[in-house]
């Protein structure tokens, strides 16, 4: 071995030792656990997660005690403006320069698709609370994705199946014309057909459509038993309002496939009352949900939407997993998260599957009529609890990251 080689070897050994030493400096990287919250803070989906998710995640950190493994927990947040490029750039900055260990919140499926790619590339964890698409645990699954609150399959299954089985066979779709709406329509169509129903027509309305009257007229002319709204937020509210105005709700059932509590509150009880839907959480379900929701409302000013409760629950589970793993290193934490059973006011009869899908009880609820309501927060009546296994689609073998 010549001198040159010796020197190189020495350098290599020294570097490796130094790096190993660095990695072993403490169980928690850079002496703190840092959680980023990425959400739409001022756009159409702001009420579904937004500031409320920041509040919920901060509550989880406080309830956990503010430290894990003796190190402080820090929460930072940013507005994705519903733009995938803005969201993924922020996430990149967080994980590459600001030592963020996990990113929570995560609302619009388009933004989440971009953000989870960056997170997976950097081996950091995505804690998805509010996004609807089921892609994050199917076609775009990743060992670092955790999808907590609900997905399109669960809400479509829960709402569509009982309606078709009760004899409402002919379905018409009013669909939001972008990835999320298409995914929701596709899943719901499958459920309709599986249960012996048929699709008699459909229209695709641009996101943010103000006037749904022409779509409602087409739905009316189709002779459908059920008009399904495969959209969200303001689109659902507007479509339902118009359906009622044109007399559609008197002759036909209107099913909101994805309705969040703030949307339900924005609907006129005279028209929305009686509509059934599926949700991952309802604040007034039992004492445990009421107790947490009361604390949330005191801080946030409004009752929690399902994404808010989910954000709290998944953050708690994440922090518990760090404690159990004895490190905040992503692979070890993910393994622990999947090994431990989530169990709190939100996650009932729950497991975090190997594909990152959190499977838990879903709620089949009915929007209350005006005379059934105690106050403005009293919006749903829980009709049925749907066990997670029948609500969520089974795991795909290629997404099983914990192969035995």
């Amino acid at each position: 071995m010549n001198t040159m080689h010796k020197t190189l070897l020495a350098v290599a050994v020294a570097t490796t030792t130094a790096l190993a030493g660095f990695a072993q400096a403490g169980p928690v990287s850079d002496d703190k656990v840092k959680i980023g919250v990425l959400a739409d803070m001022g756009g159409v989906y702001a009420d579904l997660c937004g500031r409320g998710c920041v509040t919920a995640i901060e509550m989880a950190v406080e309830d956990f005690g503010g430290t894990v493994l003796g190190m402080p927990i820090e929460v930072v947040s940013a507005d994705d403006q519903l733009k995938p490029d803005v969201g993924s750039a922020k996430v990149r900055q967080w994980v590459e320069n600001e030592q963020v260990d996990a990113v929570g919140g995560l609302v619009s499926s388009a933004v989440v698709g971009a953000a989870t790619k960056v997170l997976t590339d950097n081996r950091k964890i995505a804690l998805i609370s509010t996004a609807a698409s089921n892609a994050f645990t199917t076609s775009a699954c990743s060992p670092y994705n955790v999808h907590w609150t609900y997905n399109v399959a669960a809400v479509a299954n829960g709402t569509v199946k009982p309606m078709v089985q009760s004899g409402k066979k002919k379905w018409f779709f009013i669909t939001a014309d972008y990835a999320f709406g298409h995914a929701l329509e596709e899943v719901a169509t499958e459920v309709v057909k599986e249960n012996g129903g048929e699709i008699v027509g459909g229209v695709r309305a641009p996101l943010g459509t103000t006037d749904f009257s022409s779509y409602v007229l087409q739905a009316q002319a189709s002779g459908a038993d059920v008009v399904a709204l495969a959209n969200a937020g303001g689109d659902t509210v507007n479509a339902l309002k118009t359906a009622a105005e044109f007399g559609l709700t008197q002759t036909t059932d209107v099913a909101g496939l994805l309705v969040f509590t703030p949307d339900a509150q924005a609907m006129d009880p005279a028209t929305a009352g009686g509509m059934t839907l599926t949700t991952g959480f309802y604040w007034d379900y039992d004492d445990a949900t009421r107790a947490w929701s009361k604390r949330f409302k005191e801080r946030h000013g409004a009752i929690p939407a399902m994404g808010h409760a989910g954000a709290y629950s998944m953050t708690m589970h994440y922090l518990k997993a760090i404690e159990a793993a004895g490190t905040d290193e992503s692979d070890a934490v993910m393994a622990k998260m999947k090994e431990m059973k989530p169990d709190d006011f939100f996650a009932r009869n729950a497991t975090l599957r190997a594909d990152g899908r959190m499977v838990h009880d879903m709620y089949y609820v009915q929007i209350k009529k005006a005379d059934e309501r105690r106050d403005a927060d009293d919006i749903f009546k829980v009709i049925d609890v749907i066990p997670g296994d029948s609500a969520y689609a089974p795991m795909l073998p290629e997404c099983n990251f914990v192969k035995s």
Binding site: D211, S214, L217, D268, A270
Partner: protein, 295 residues
Amino acid sequence: MATFLGINLFGLFGQLLVGLINGSFYALLSLGLAIIFGLLKIINFAQGAMYMLGAFAAWMALDYLGINYWLALILVPLAVGAVGILMERLLIRPIAKEDHLYSLLLTFGIALMLQGTFTHVFGSSGMAYAIPEALQGGFKLPFMYLPAYRAWIVVASILVCGATWWMIEKTRLGAYLRAGTENAQLMQAFGINVPLMVTLTFGFGVGLAGFAGVMAAPVYSVSPDMGSNLLIIVFAIVVIGGMGSIGGAILTGLGMGIVEGLTKYFYPEASSTVIFLVMVIVLLLKPAGLFGKEA
């Protein structure tokens, strides 16, 4: 069902009527813009925010003060008009002599701030506002069910637009107004208070948006972004009609509603772009717009 050349006529009539209803909103909003631009040469990007303000004011009036729809229909446009007057006096006046771009950017900023403030205070989901009792129910036409409130929108919009056109084009006050913008110095020499007239005109144009907001509250969701969704379309309509043409703005507003309705029937996917397509064609063939006199 009646069909002609394979087209379902009932469906088509339904879409045409719905288009006319939407066109009524376009007409009200583009009329306000056209007045402000035509007479004052201000490009008011806050017009959509003023429409949103009108809808929220109607909701607040009912929810906080118990003021019903009919009173709101009179009071809210006045209140929104007053906001417009303040805006003109305090913010737009100081930069009136600068290039049009300054007022455009200023009003755009005001619109963003208003929208942001309302999202912060009221959230993004919107508020429910019920249709007034007298206008609930509807008429059973052979080809569709026409809600009474939608019929009222068309009637009220045509009345208000018609009256405004008549006032500006056919009365002495309107003549002063038009003359004042042609040659302000000469008009002032005749003893007409031109600055006051400008302020009131701006207030009136903005008040029209407030009126449209109240009209919209019962049928569309009252939400902070309701104005920004509509503003771009309305600007396109003003451009198609010819910047500043009062009658042009009204006719184009109604016409574009119908074009949009037809598109929704034949090819719904294009319904959100068809107006811009028309705009491009009109600009290529007749740069001054359909009813405009000069480019």
